[in-house]
């Protein structure tokens, strides 16, 4: 086992070998260990059990709260069309999907709302101050080596201050390895249903022993057309069953997009450090078909369009300038442009619009950790950010926001058994905007908003039960009102306060190897979240004019459990994996006892949901079958038949074959079938999802 590890990490850094624990070395271990963990985290992987167990031991030691993490296996990541699709297999979250290749996809973890989920690329947050929802459909797994989701702070990872503010965080890591990229050339082509064609290419080369580089490009084109079925039957007064059962075509959902990344990374041996700088650009042109409503025959239908482009330059550096002190520096500059427009000439039913939005921002962060003793470490982090937004909409107030986050924390370790970490986050946001003449904006200029978010995370690993970990946390989080909530013409309310959320969780994870070659992981959490001052939209004068108010109260009780089994009997024998998970979420609206919404399940959250998958790998062949099920959901908190979305079960299958071509080069062919049974389902009402889609993917590394 040591041989495996030492091939990646120099021997003198192995904490087990030395029996002493030093944060400085732990941080140096960070990247390779994360690499191991992402390969061998919970349940999704197909690595050898020895590596897994070792990695699990290391994880408990160094990164205890990783038990609050879910990680996508490389196979899942490789065959998912986007990051959002890979996340569907995770527990206790909902992916809100408007359908098709270009539809908006956001992730809502533990029913708090997608604004509470931070998305981080290499530890630096992705921003969208306009509506605080990151469209995960635009991130291609080809650019990232790992995808993970965390619901608690991770104290030993020098995370940025604003990550303490996210109730949950999605982490995309752009490159594996310990800081000097040298991957060679990799290419992927993906094509299939809806005339999808997506070639990607990546080239990595070490420029020197200390500096590596990577360049990648992806282009996606899809016409987004798919058939969908609509049927509704009822019994008429004569006792006959009457209704309709028709197949329509989803049109105007095409997409063309391209993204480019360039990355430099390297090591700083004298300071035990590594650094990386990444430039990322993305652009797309897509159709937005809108909801399916009854229209007259033969009349052209909606053809709204969206063009967008975004670019960022970000960098991180981790170093250890003194004994016991570790620092992480981060910076980012970003620019986003979005244009949404309709075509009333083609479709006179369309509401005329041609809205353009521009956002720009700069961000810098410094995090540090200092080891006081064997059991005590103190951490601190400080972030600063400035965002502005411009739009051509009449009376737009051109808001700007200065944000500051300050976090301090203490982490206490008792041997291998107990980890306790407490953090306090203070954040301050100062908005400026040009006061508008438009009545109804509840103008409150130069508003400063504060929030305090403490958290306490506990992890206990009783020595009498190897492989068992008991974890708990109590945290507070918040959600700042977005620019749309505050300043959007006619709808914004600039008096809004931040939302507040309290989160409590208790759970366990247990890892055991009952027989040689087989490993069983069980993970379970029971949680309770409470949100108050939730920002909701209420109609004012009529259906067209809504305004945002801080009136919502939501209470969430949830339980999830995941059991995964891996069986690997070594060379020449098939590797089998299987997992089953179940999530219970009772998320109820307690805003106003006088309204019909009181006590109702909040929109889009199913009470019961679950996933299951089985997979096998043998002699270069691999096959996985995945099932996802969800109980009924409602599109408003008034849980009536009018707003009900039917339950559904989805089946996906992936078959892969690796072919050796030449010396050490592999060609991996995958056939991905989504929605095998062409189940008719909707996540958002009146946005039908595609039926069976088939994709053929070829991955080649030179």
């Amino acid at each position: 086992m040591k041989q495996v590890l030492s091939s990646i990490i120099p021997v003198e850094y192995l904490p087990l070998a030395h029996g002493r624990f030093r944060l400085r070395r732990a941080i140096t271990l960070l990247f390779p260990v994360l690499f191991l963990l992402f390969q061998g985290g919970t349940a999704f992987c197909q690595e050898s059990p020895d590596t897994l167990r070792e990695a699990a031991v290391l994880s408990r030691k160094i990164l205890p709260s990783l038990s609050y993490g879910q990680v996508a296996s490389p196979a899942l990541l490789r065959t998912s069309p986007s990051v959002a699709d890979a996340l569907r297999s995770f527990t206790s979250l909902q992916v809100k999907d408007y359908g098709g290749a270009g539809g908006l996809k956001t992730v809502n973890v533990r029913s708090l709302g997608s604004e509470y989920t931070g998305v981080f690329i290499d530890g630096v947050a992705v921003d969208n101050s306009q509506n605080m929802q990151i469209d995960l459909g635009r991130f291609s797994p080809f650019d990232f080596s790992s995808l993970a989701l965390y619901t608690a702070p991770r104290p030993y990872t020098l995370q940025s201050a604003r990550e303490y503010a996210s109730a949950s965080s999605v982490h995309l890591v752009a490159s594996p390895g310990n800081g000097v990229s040298d991957e060679g050339l990799r290419a992927r082509v993906r094509m299939g249903s809806m005339f999808t064609f997506q070639p990607s290419i990546r080239w990595g080369k070490a420029l020197s022993p200390l500096v590596g580089s990577t360049l990648s490009a992806t282009v996606l084109s899809s016409n987004g057309k798919y058939p969908f079925r609509q049927r509704k039957y009822r019994t008429d007064p004569l006792g006959h069953v009457a209704g309709y059962d028709t197949v329509m075509t989803r049109r105007s959902a095409d997409i063309v997009s391209a993204n480019l990344t360039a990355r430099l990374d390297g090591k700083i041996p004298r300071l035990d450090g590594q650094w990386s700088v990444m430039a990322y650009g993305y652009g797309s042109d897509r159709g937005l078909p809108g909801p399916v409503v009854r229209r007259a025959e033969g009349v052209p239908k909606a053809s709204d369009r969206q063009e967008d482009c975004s670019a960022f330059l970000q960098g991180t550096a981790m170093l250890s300038p003194l004994e016991g002190l570790s620092l992480a520096l981060r910076f980012k500059g970003n620019f986003d442009y979005l244009r949404y427009h309709t075509d009333p000439v083609k479709d006179p039913q369309a509401m005329a619009a041609d809205n353009r939005y521009r956002q720009a921002g700069g961000y810098a962060s410094l995090s540090g950790a200092y080891v006081l003793s064997r059991s005590l470490t103190i951490t601190g982090a400080s972030d600063i950010q400035y965002n502005v937004m411009r739009s051509n909409m009449r009376g737009f107030v051109n808001p700007g926001r200065l944000s500051l986050w300050e976090a301090v924390g203490i982490n206490y370790t008792y041997g291998d058994v107990l980890d306790l970490s407490g953090n306090m986050l203070y954040c301050m946001f100062s908005d400026t905007f040009a006061p508008t003449r438009d009545p109804g904006a509840f103008s409150k200029n130069n508003a400063v908003r504060h929030s305090v978010a403490p958290s306490l995370v506990l992890s206990y690993r009783p020595s009498f039960a190897g492989g068992l970990s008991l974890d708990a946390f109590a945290r507070r989080s918040y959600r700042m009102p977005s620019f749309n909530d505050l300043y959007y013409t006619f709808i914004g309310n600039s008096s809004l306060k931040p939302e507040r959320a309290w989160m409590y969780d208790v759970g366990f994870s247990y890892s055991v190897s009952p027989v040689r070659g087989t490993r069983v992981d069980i993970k379970s959490s029971l949680y309770h979240n409470r949100v108050s001052d939730k920002i909701v939209a209420l109609p004012t004068a009529n259906l067209f004019r809504w305004t945002m108010y801080n009136i919502g109260k939501v209470s969430v009780v949830g339980w999830d459990i995941r059991v995964s089994v891996t069986r690997d009997l070594g060379e020449g024998r098939p590797t089998l994996t299987g997992d089953v998970s179940y999530t219970f979420q009772r998320a109820r609206d307690f805003t106003d006892p006088g309204r019909n919404t009181y006590g109702g399940q909040i929109p889009y959250i199913p009470v019961h949901s679950g996933n299951a998958s089985v997979g096998a790998a043998w002699r270069g062949w691999g096959a996985t079958l995945r099932a996802m099920a969800s109980s009924q959901r409602f599109s408003t908190s008034v849980n009536l038949e009018e707003y009900r979305l039917s339950p559904y079960i989805l089946l996906d299958a992936v078959i892969t074959k690796g072919i050796e071509v030449g010396r050490g080069r592999t060609l991996e062919l995958s056939l991905c079938l989504d929605n095998l049974t062409s189940s008719t389902y909707q996540i958002v009402p009146n946005y039908p999802m595609p039926p069976l889609t088939a994709m053929l993917q070829a991955d080649f590394s030179f």
């Binding site: 004569l238 009854r294 039913q349 051509n392 009545p439 908190s637 008034v638 009536l640």
Partner: protein
């Protein structure tokens, strides 16, 4: 009251006594279409109506539905047995794909037909009011609907054998890169044949037209300018006058910002309502003299104090015409917990005399968001739709002339358009 109503029925019968009219479904024919909505299985709930002597057959209630939600619906209450049926269109027309449609905005009764305007679907749907079935099954060979882009309201012109539909008609505009310059396209008034529901012609009116009515030789269209406001900061404040025989715009009368509904006595006066700007200018009502196509001067002072969020009108030549309006003085207060207090106004069309009855202290005080009303001329009952919070199903409540509650029933989402239907005999 009975005498008044007898007069009404006679005048209706005389007026519509023409043979060969496709809209004159004979009440005796209703049994021939297979089944009616009188069937027990559609029963719904029974309401203690307390007005079995009414000559009206049904009260229809149209629920707008959520915007983009494709869930507009049609309810009715049948007076003779008190049965209330929710979602009657879907129940009686199960084969229509997508149900009634999206965002119903207007409902009118014409002879023995029921017309529903679906703004979000771009469809004006015609139904048989005896069984709520799409009209084509009862009478003619053509489809019982006509496609008009973003239709808002309709008005009938029987002598010219057509119906007029106001339409936003694909308002377009241009933005420069950073600023806003407006050249937005005005809306249209469509003319649709009553013979075969074909679109005959259209004429340009103002920005985002809403209400339409026929008086004298002309058609009067109220323009709101809602999109125009979002572009330029200005609402439209004109009533467009279109000549009926030439079907050409002949005048534009400046009234007030953000005009919505129009009603008329048919010959002398056209009253028009303005919604104000919701935050600083109050809603108001105004009168146009048809003979001169000008705003009336010298109306009583009380008229300028009338607030209008929804209205209905009825009357006869002999008894005079009245408008019934629900409005609130708390128009500018949008705080979520604030309870607005509404009043009922009765305005005489000819004299402009106003009678104001506050809801406070009556059963009507419990209404949260009165969104539409109609009046039963036979017994003076008021039927008021309450849209509640625009998300939960609303309610429709009947009040007597003293605003005492007679009955109430749950309706659909954004309940807003009640209308009474009495069958007429066509010769």
């Amino acid at each position: 009251m009975k005498k008044f109503f007898a007069l009404l029925v006679c005048s209706c019968t005389l007026l519509f006594a023409v043979s060969g009219c496709n809209w004159g479904i004979n009440p005796d024919d209703r049994g021939n279409t297979g089944y009616t909505s009188e069937d027990e299985s559609l029963a719904g709930d029974v309401v203690t109506v307390g007005e079995s002597e009414s000559p009206f057959y049904k009260l229809f209630v149209v629920n707008e539905g959520s915007f983009g939600g494709n869930n507009a619906s049609l309810d009715f209450l049948r007076f003779k047995d008190g049965k209330y049926v929710n979602g009657a269109f879907a129940k009686m027309n199960p084969a229509v794909v997508g149900g009634l449609g999206d965002t119903a905005n207007d409902v009118k009764v014409f002879l023995n037909s029921l017309w529903i305007v679906l703004n979000g679907s771009g469809i004006v749907q015609v139904l048989n009011p005896f069984n709520e079935k799409v009209l084509s099954e009862a009478t003619s060979s053509y489809s019982g609907s006509v496609a008009i882009p973003s239709p808002r309201q309709i008005a009938f012109d029987y002598p010219n054998n057509c119906v007029y539909v106001t339409s936003y008609d694909g308002a377009t505009f241009e933005y420069t890169q950073d600023g806003v310059t407006g050249t937005d396209k005005k809306g249209s008034l469509y003319k649709v044949s009553l013979d075969n529901l074909a679109v005959l012609e259209k004429v340009e009116v103002g920005y985002q037209p809403e209400g339409v009515t026929v008086a004298g030789d002309n058609i009067y269209v109220a323009n709101s300018g809602g999109y125009h406001y979002s572009l330029t900061g200005q609402y439209d404040n004109t009533v467009t006058v279109v000549n009926r025989s030439l079907f050409r715009k002949i005048a534009e009368i400046e009234v007030a910002d953000n005009l919505k509904d129009v009603c008329t006595d048919g010959t002398n006066y056209v009253w028009v309502s303005s919604q104000g700007d919701f935050y600083s200018r109050h809603s108001s009502i105004h009168r146009i003299d048809v003979a001169k196509n000008e705003l009336s001067t010298s109306l009583p002072e009380a008229v300028s104090q009338v607030r209008c969020s929804s209205w209905t009108s009825l009357g006869t030549v002999s008894n005079g015409y009245k408008i019934y309006i629900i409005g609130t003085d708390d128009e500018f207060n949008w705080e979520p917990d604030f309870v607005k207090s509404y009043s009922l106004y009765e305005v005489d069309m000819a004299s402009g005399n106003v009678k104001k009855v506050p809801f406070a202290g009556t059963d009507a005080a419990s209404l949260k968001t009165p969104y539409g009303l109609c009046v039963n001329p036979y017994n003076g009952h008021l039927y008021i739709c309450d849209a509640a919070d625009f998300v939960s199903p609303g309610t429709v409540t009947a009040f007597d002339a003293d605003l005492k509650k007679v009955w109430t029933h749950t309706a659909g989402i954004v309940c807003g358009h009640p209308i009474l239907f009495a069958p007429v005999t066509v010769y």
